[in-house]
Structures are given as C-alpha cells and as structure tokens.
Amino acid sequence: MKFFQKCCILFIAIAVLICFTACNFDSKYDSEFFSMDTIMTITAYGSKGENAVKAAENEINRIDALLSVQNKNSEIYKLNRDKSISAASDTLALVNRGIEIYTLTDGAFDITIEPLSRLWGFYTGLENRIPTQEEIDNALKFVGAENIKIDKSNIILNEETSLDLGGIAKGYASSIAAQILKERGVSSAIISLGGNIRTVGTKPDGSKWNIGITDPDDNTKEIGILSVSDTAVVTSGGYQRYFEENGQIYHHIIDTKTGYPAKSGLKSVTVVSKDDTLADALSTGLFVMGLEKSKEFYRKNSTLFEAVFVTDKNEVYITENLKNSFSSQQSFGVIEI
C-alpha cells in the first residue's frame, strides 16, 4: 500500500511537471559562414551539434575548393583550362550526376553553361552585358553535355566546352553536410546554403520544419509555407540575380537551347526532394522548361520530387503530394499526377 501510494504521488508529480513546463532541454548550435560565394547557416539541436556542424562546415569548404569555377586551384577551373583532368571522386560523381540530369530533363538543365554565363557576365569580376547574336551562336555550338567524355576517372571536354557546376554544387554540398550531421548523431538540424534549404529530421519537438518560399516580387515576404521533414527545398527564380538594360530585365537562368535568359512564364520554381542535388538541378531545369512542360515532367517523375511554381501572373501552382504540407494566404492550383 505504501509503495502504491508513493507511485501515485510520483506519477501525479510527473504529470503536473509535464503540464506546466513546456520547456525543452535541447541545446542549439548556430553557425554562419561564407562559402561558395554565398552566406551559409547551419543550425543543429542537441549536445552533439557543435562538433557535427564544424565537421559539416569543413566539408562544405572542401567541396567548394574542388568545384568553384572562379578559384584558380579548383579542379573545375583546371578542367576548363586544360580540357582534361584526372578528377577526384566528388568532382567525378557530380559531373556524372550533371550529365544524368541533363538527359532526364532533355537538356533543360545543363552543366556546360559556363560559356553562356560568361558572355552575359554573370560571374564576379565581369560586367553584365547583352551579347551579340553571333557570340551566342558561337557559344551554343559547344554547349551540351554530349561534349563531356568520361573515361574511368578522367574527364575530357571538347575544345571550347567549359563546365559550371554552380547549379548543383550547393545541392551536393547540402546532401553531404546533412549526411555528416546524421552520422555524428544530430537528429534535428536545418541547413541553409544561400537559400538552398536542407532539413535534417524534424524540429526538436517532433513537428515539421516550416520553410517559407520567398515572394519573387518582394524578398521580405513569403508566398507560402511548406511543412517538411528530412528533405531539401530549393528555389530558383529570375529575381535572384539580374540586370536591366533598355527597360528589359535579363536574369541569370539561361536557356541553353536559345542562349538567352529563359522566358518560360515563371517567376520562380521551388523543388522539394529527398535528393538535394536533384532538387537543386531541377529548380533550374523546371524554370527553363516552363509550367506546361514541367507538368508533363512531373507526371512522369512524380516519385522523384514535388514542386511549387509562381508564374509571371503571380499564380501559384503546387504538385499533388504537397497539397497537405503547403499553406498560403493566397489561393493556389494543384497539379495532379
């Protein structure tokens, strides 16, 4: 009887404690750093957060040093200069992935875009300008993943072809960072590599992460919120980098079929996928494809990804399986499988 009485009191005490203290004992570690030409933040919860975040940060810097187009010591820089290198495993894997997604998207996503981006001046140190049709036609001859040959660990390019992995490097980096955090015992973290979001697990309280999608017309606002766990969320939009000339806006997402900034009727595309690299590449690829082609593409590949589209008319479309995880103040259409 005494024992039972004690148990009861203990139980009630615990119940009351749970009722009145909604605090969580999880510690949190934040890190903000500059890499890959952008600001990155990693926030990890739990006691193992600090070491894991530092390891992830080192890894991202290592990948940046391999893949940067601008850094004179990077493998990609050397490849673009010498047109042939024996590549490290990360570079090789990512180039292979780039070719794979090129085929998947029928060329809408292309890692051989470097000459075009250079012409339009979308690299640091260059002036933005409108190239002549002749320059574009010349550059287009050597654009396309067919110009990359891979022989064991050697990557060989056509004489005028150059690579820019900027469209998938951050996705790749976030997948590696997420993997490191998990391996080191972090079960709750959020990674932002310059707006490429990757969530690890759920929030410490078990609820999903809420990811705001930037309003293309006003960067301080959001068009809606996605509730997700353990996925990558990546947005590509013409508003992110552009220049204006003669009243025309020229943005940085170039259609490798025309050589001009993609005029696909979209303001931004957000891709949600478990595969960070794919999400990063597809956000660009779908932007180039436009809404109608993207719908078709989604119906064929609905197991790979989900997406949110914002059109030039500010209409919002989301893919079917996101229906229950998207909340927005405005109305939106659903793209069915």
């Binding site: 009861c8 707006g195 809420n210 990811i211 999608i213 919120i225 969320v233 508003y239 980098r241």
Partner: protein, 126 residues
C-alpha cells in the same frame, strides 16, 4: 490509500483539467482558415475571409450524407444522416473553437493555425 487522499487527488485533477480546458478555449487561434477532413484526408481548406458567396459542401460516408454550410461569417454542419447528429448540435464555428466532429462518417472540421512562422526561407537572394 485513504479515501480522503483520493478525494483530494481527484478534485485537484478536476481543477487542473478545468484550467487546461479554459486555457485551450482561450488559446485557440483566431484563425479564419478552416480545414475539412474526412478519414484524415484534407477535403478542402477554406479561408472564411475570402468566401464571397454562401455555399454547401456535401460529403458522403458509410452512414449517409453530411452537409456543411459555409459563409464568410461561419461554418457549420447543417445536416447529417448519421444516427447521432452530434455534429449538427455543435452549432456554428466563427473563428477558432473546438473542432466539429462526426465520428460515424469520420469527418472533422477544424480551424488551422495560420500563424506559422518560417524556420528558414528558400530562394533568398544570393
């Protein structure tokens, strides 16, 4: 354990629950976004503020039809063919409030929290 101890414990549980219930009623978000669920699946999500004309939604379950009435003022279960009709008795929901439930046809009408705050933002300008 003495009966008196039990009376004390039980009455304190009643008090705690009463406080909890009051705080739940108070904390219900003054949201105007309402979700209609059947079998746990979202049927429709409606922002009552943006409802311009009154309309009805009819859902059919194993136990007949439920008719939901929506105007920009409120939402209510107008009629039900299920045996108990408790959902109809629940009355109108204006903003916030405990969910309307129809257990026989497994329908739930509840207000959704629209004050979600983003943990991170995708697509920020690089």
């Amino acid at each position: 354990m003495k009966t008196r101890t039990w009376i004390i414990i039980l009455s304190s549980v009643v008090i705690v629950c009463a406080i909890l219930w009051m705080s739940i009623l108070n904390s219900l978000s003054p949201s105007k976004i309402v979700g209609i669920y059947q079998d746990g699946n979202l049927v429709e999500k409606i922002d009552l503020n943006s409802v311009t004309y009154q309309r009805e939604i009819t859902l059919t379950g194993e136990f007949g039809k439920n008719t939901i009435y929506i105007s920009n003022e409120h939402i209510e279960m107008k009629s039900a063919e299920c045996p108990d009709k408790l959902c109809v008795k629940h009355g109108e929901l204006k903003s916030g409030g405990t969910p309307i439930v129809c257990l026989p046809n497994r329908i739930v009408i509840q207000f959704e929290d629209d004050s979600k705050e983003a943990d991170a933002k995708t697509g920020a300008v690089r």
